[in-house]
Amino acid sequence: MTPALAAELGGEPLFRWSYVRDNLDGPIWESLSEHLVLSFTPVLLGLLIALPLGLACARWTRLYPPVLAATSVLYAVPAIGLFVVFVAFTGLTYTTVIVPLSLYTLSVLVPSVVDGLRSVPEHVRQSAVAMGFGPLRRLVRVELPISLPVVMAGLRVATVANISLVSVGALIGIGGLGQLMITGMKWPGGNYPTPIIVAIVLIVALAVVADLVLLLVQRLLTPWQRAGRGARRAARRERAARLEEAR
């Protein structure tokens, strides 16, 4: 620790294990579970809105630019501002945090759904029509599954962004692990870094774990993607070997 930081902390060590021990079952666990609810609910809600919205934008292409503009503008509004606005309508409840965060996810998820649907090759779409798929069946059995990798990529970004954004809610008293940071900053006897460090470590860990879980889910749902990559790699290797032989 630098002397300046030590002076700032007034003799308080950077990390006290005793805090973790004493608060694990209390504030730490409570803020962690609150953080989970506040970060995953908006992603789910966002996905529920982004799917039909994205489908509509892919179907009626003229709808897409205004929708994209609207979600992007919304994303540019600072979170704290939106929280304060929503307090007026929904009071100091989870809803006040969940609604703005859901809106934020749209700026990532709507483009993901649209790009995903656009990633379906035209000849595949055409052959689905020619095989006798009706519009709904074609969507569910062909177009959405093929869109999945792109949609999942968006979902991962939205989830990780959300896990970090939830902390801002602490400024209105609903912020999951962000609450621990407030605790550390407003400690009656001066600065108390331990809760802040605990919060940061847990938020990063949560983001990493969530991302890995989503990646795993994506792998399980799209075995064909890896098969394709493997085949391309094999083809590259074979070409290289043949080139070598030719020399």
Partner: protein, 282 residues
Amino acid sequence: MITFEGVTKRYPDGTVAVDDLDLEIDTGRITVLVGPSGCGKTTTLRMINRMVDATEGTIAVDGKNVRDVDPPTLRRGIGYVIQQAGLFPHRTIEDNIATVPLLLGRDKKQARTDARALMDRVGLDTAFAKRYPAQLSGGQQQRVGVARALAADPPILLMDEPFSAVDPIVRANLQDEFLRLQDELEKTIVFVTHDIDEAVKLGHRIAVFQVGGKLAQYTTPDELLDAPASDFVRDFLGGDRGIRRLRFTQELDAEVAMGGPSGPPTGSTGATPAGSAEAGER
């Protein structure tokens, strides 16, 4: 028999893709639609399974107007092979082949067993059954495309430039095996190509289209090479028409010498069984 009567396709912007077409397509034969790009051959093909609806005129399959059948039902009864195979990348080879039987509500296990039998039939190793399309070569994918089109045993097969995206050697191979298969199956096949050589090799009858959606000539390959109906057809056949004709007749002679289509279907001899079957008539 597929019958076109006074069929016109006009798009909202005024473009005429197909202009007052009358055409009779024989049952159990290969009819090739050939012409330069923009001649309306693909549109003609797609009007049969209502991927495109005609603006005027009627298209009937065995006397039944295709307009009277709802499109998905109609399409499940007509096989379709597209240029890049159009396989579903997220489904295994056997599930790709089983697509239409499953849409028709057939038993999944049975459909997969049938799919493997079909793989055998189109010359694909059944070891590929659990693989995905991306793991196959272009030629293999095209075979899967053919197997998929045949899976529900439809009487009609529509093929839109099915062999043009693969290299010439693979193409020749696919064409030969396709003819051998057709010899056994005797489907009513409508085959679109821009390649006159392919048309002459595969077609029992050839419909030459010219830009603007007009039918320029509709006849047998022999007759087409012998007596082009117009300058357009003559130009389209090209300067090497004589050579093409020579090669065509030589192949026929070779087959007659070999004892016709009953010879061993090795598929790699370059023989054209469907062509030889009609050798007498021609």
